[in-house]
């Protein structure tokens, strides 16, 4: 029985922290946020050299062959500093290829994803807040030389930095992932509130993909990809929420009102304590969920729904109270706490909000 991290995982965590401190601190993040793609090829090169893009890709395909627990460590730490790099998208795209792709797909695509030469993203649902196979409406129609797609995928994470897109579609034989290249579609940046999570819509006009670029996806595959998507997002929520707590807690020690630090007032310190309780709790739930991905997959749906169901509401409240406890200065663009509020709002609906996940917990629990 060991519900903790290994020495190697602790070193990995330190490595990510050092990278974030030295190469991708908040001033740098703010510079990137002012661009549409928020992408930095130089930083991307550095993290691919560190092996982080191939963490969950098997060694036979050029990755490190590690587990989702290791990926969780990296996502938690990059999100602590609000990294805008499309690391989660790359990981989820590789998870999709591992799950739905053929041996050829894996051999052809995964090595360049592990090395960072290709930048990939994945978009599943066409509805803004509906987790269901029915929420995939974009179609791929059979034509002579493959499949033709016309329409819009409205919510594509990291759409502006990606070169390759896995888009969930309805094909002639059911659900599938269409592998589409950048030159086959038009990307439109959408002005979303969290600029560290650049999101765009992509539109396709009679784009034709080769027949073997349509990867069949069962409903179970879709559920799995949604669940690991939620694992990735919740890992990011843990790091970001903990950073928001630290920032607010430090501020409460320094800010003097009525002659004493505001952290001495129970209205402030008790809220900080409750935030600590929430972060500790969805962190524990998330670690367990990340562990189930590789070691107890039948438990994954329940485990991640408990974690994301808890975290979605709790982190959103932490974002708001983080700003609120700072007072007027927290409201300023200059102060960093507001960036975490925006991140909390971004994370809430991703791969299912608390209503979706808690209802699923009820169903899985026999109600």
């Amino acid at each position: 029985m060991n519900f903790g991290f290994t020495e190697e995982q602790n070193m990995l965590r330190e490595q990510v922290r050092r990278f974030m401190r030295e190469a991708c601190d908040i001033p740098r993040v703010r510079e990137l946020m002012s661009t549409d793609s928020a992408f930095d090829g130089n930083l991307w090169k550095q993290i691919s050299d560190l092996g982080w893009l191939g963490l969950v890709i098997p060694e036979s395909y050029g990755g490190l062959g590690l587990k989702w627990v290791d990926l969780t460590v990296v996502l938690e730490e990059t999100a602590r500093g609000l990294s805008p790099l499309p690391l989660a998208s790359q990981a989820l795209a590789s998870a999709a290829i591992l799950r739905c792709g053929s041996a050829d797909h894996k051999a052809n695509w995964l090595p360049t994803m592990a090395s960072g030469e290709s930048i990939c993203t994945i978009a599943l649902y066409d509805e803004p807040n509906w987790i269901s196979p029915d929420a995939i409406t974009l179609t791929a129609d059979a034509v002579d030389d493959g499949y033709e797609i016309t329409g819009v995928k409205p919510f594509v994470p990291d759409a502006l930095s990606a070169q390759y897109y896995l888009l969930a579609v309805r094909g002639p034989h059911g659900l599938a992932l269409a592998a589409v290249t950048r030159d086959q579609l038009t990307v439109k940046a959408q002005p979303i509130m969290d600029r560290t999570k650049p999101t765009g819509s992509v539109s396709l006009d009679r784009a034709v993909i080769p027949a073997d670029f349509l990867l069949p996806m069962t409903e179970e595959d879709l559920a799995y990809l949604t669940d690991v998507g939620a694992v990735a997002v919740t890992a990011e929520m843990v790091g970001a929420a903990e950073a928001a707590l630290t920032m607010t807690s430090e501020y409460a020690k320094e800010r003097i009102q009525f002659g004493k630090p505001i952290g001495q007032y129970q209205g402030v310190k008790h809220r900080l304590a409750d935030i600590y309780v929430d972060v500790e709790s969805f962190k524990s739930l998330l670690y367990y969920a990340a562990w189930t991905v590789d070691d107890e997959p039948t438990e994954l749906p329940r485990a991640i729904s408990l974690a994301k169901g808890y975290a979605s509401d709790a982190f959103a409240r932490i974002g708001i109270d983080g700003v609120g406890l700072h007072g007027a200065i927290g409201f300023t663009a200059e102060y960093d706490i507001q960036l975490y509020l925006k991140r909390s709002k971004w994370a809430r609906p991703m791969y299912g909000d608390s209503d979706y996940h808690l209802d699923r917990v009820a169903s899985l629990g026999g109600l």
């Binding site: 304590a273 500790e280 367990y288």
Partner: protein, 386 residues
């Protein structure tokens, strides 16, 4: 990260399960004298005071084995391993840590053999949460202390044999935590008077305890004079893993789901109501969080790290669940939910109604939620003290 157990740990789990199969008949089949023989048997196995050193009658049980024992006992809904909850939880460990050899010989075997029960004299009429401000006074006169004062909210006092008592031996101190001394006092000593207090559920398990010129031999002092605060703090810090509690709470959640399945709300099955489903799921999320928090803290302890105040996290969850789960059942079942045992429409024998009035026992005893929040904010987050 792994949730595997070693062969020895699994063997121990099987041993506990086999024992329970043989020695724990279903409730209706438990005859007269069941409890006595149960207590003898678990004592014989060395499972009472399982973590205590073998020199004092314990088994030196490791952290994981302790967790396994608690989990299996809770899964089987077994009765407690002793009759003195407080004796086993903190009085015994306190005596092992601070007691003299004579005290260990005198008190420890009786706790392990369930021969005596203990209660805890900490709170006073004007000092509940502010424990260190106690005024109950003890003056040393030769070979004994003369104790005068009052305790209140003393759980178990109406039937306890002994009390672990905090008294003030020095009023002239710069810090209120100094000058406090810990005494072990028989409840039948002349001058000790117990007045039970009826609680809102109609029970009488806590009481006022009055001390009038009670003579306590110096040999019944636990630790040095003035060391009482330290004795208390380290005794209360004798944290038990929450794994047994978590098992009980999952069990309660199952009972709550059964209730939901047979209940209608506005004429429709309650199990289809989104608010009901969400509420139950959130209970499950909090209980699961307690479980995995507990395992994370247990792992830290196994690796030799000292826990600071992390256990307050689970105490806060426990407190809110303790209130909310019973309250939810009462609300869900409307006017029937208000009926106590004997009511024509009482729900599950009125057990939810009764339990919904019993939460302060758990929620306030041992530190209110706001005290737990102070502990987290000050000791973990480093916020200034009030």
């Amino acid at each position: 990260m792994d949730f595997e157990y070693t062969a020895e740990e699994n063997a121990f789990r099987n041993e506990v399960r086999d024992f329970l199969k043989q020695n724990l008949p279903p409730k209706p089949e438990r005859g007269k004298g069941f409890v006595t023989s149960w207590l003898e048997k678990v004592r014989e196995k060395g499972w009472v005071g399982f973590s205590w050193p073998t020199d004092y009658g314990g088994s030196d049980g490791g952290l994981i084995e302790q967790a396994i024992l608690r989990e299996e006992m809770a899964l089987a809904k077994a009765p407690p391993l002793g009759t003195s909850f407080m004796g086993l939880a903190w009085v015994g460990p306190g005596i092992i840590q601070y007691g003299t050899d004579a005290q260990k010989k005198k008190f420890i075997p009786d706790i392990l053999d369930s021969k005596v029960t203990w209660c805890t004299g900490y709170s006073e009429p004007n000092h509940g949460s502010d424990l260190a401000s106690i005024q109950c006074k003890a003056v040393k006169e030769g070979d004994h202390y003369l104790v005068n004062g009052q305790k209140i909210w003393t759980s178990g006092a109406p039937w306890a044999d002994w009390i672990i008592l905090l008294v003030r031996t020095d009023f002239d101190v710069d810090v209120k935590h100094k000058g406090i001394t810990c005494l072990l006092v028989p409840m039948n000593a002349p001058g000790v008077e117990v007045k039970p207090i009826e609680n809102m559920a109609g029970d009488r398990h806590f009481a006022e305890v009055f001390f009038t010129d009670v003579k306590v031999p110096v040999e019944n002092r636990l630790g040095e004079e003035g060391q009482g605060w330290m004795v208390t703090v380290s005794a209360l810090a004798n944290e038990r893993s929450s794994i047994g509690e978590v098992t009980q709470m999952f069990d309660k959640l199952d009972t709550l789901k059964d209730l939901v399945r047979k209940t209608k709300k506005q004429g429709k099955p309650a199990s289809e109501d989104p608010k009901v489903r969400r509420t139950l799921a959130m209970f499950e999320a909090k209980i699961a969080a307690m479980k995995y928090n507990g395992l994370r803290y247990l792992t830290k302890q196994i690796k030799g790290e000292r826990l600071t105040s992390e256990t307050s996290v689970n105490k806060l969850h426990r407190a809110s669940l303790e209130i909310e789960m019973d309250d939810f059942a009462v609300e869900l079942t409307g006017q029937a939910g208000l009926q106590l045992a004997g009511g024509d429409d009482a729900v599950d024998g009125g057990s939810w109604a009764k339990a919904s009035l019993g939460w302060p026992n758990v929620v306030i005893g041992g530190g209110t939620p706001n005290i737990q929040r102070n502990i987290i904010a000050e000791r973990i987050l480093g916020q200034p003290k009030d």
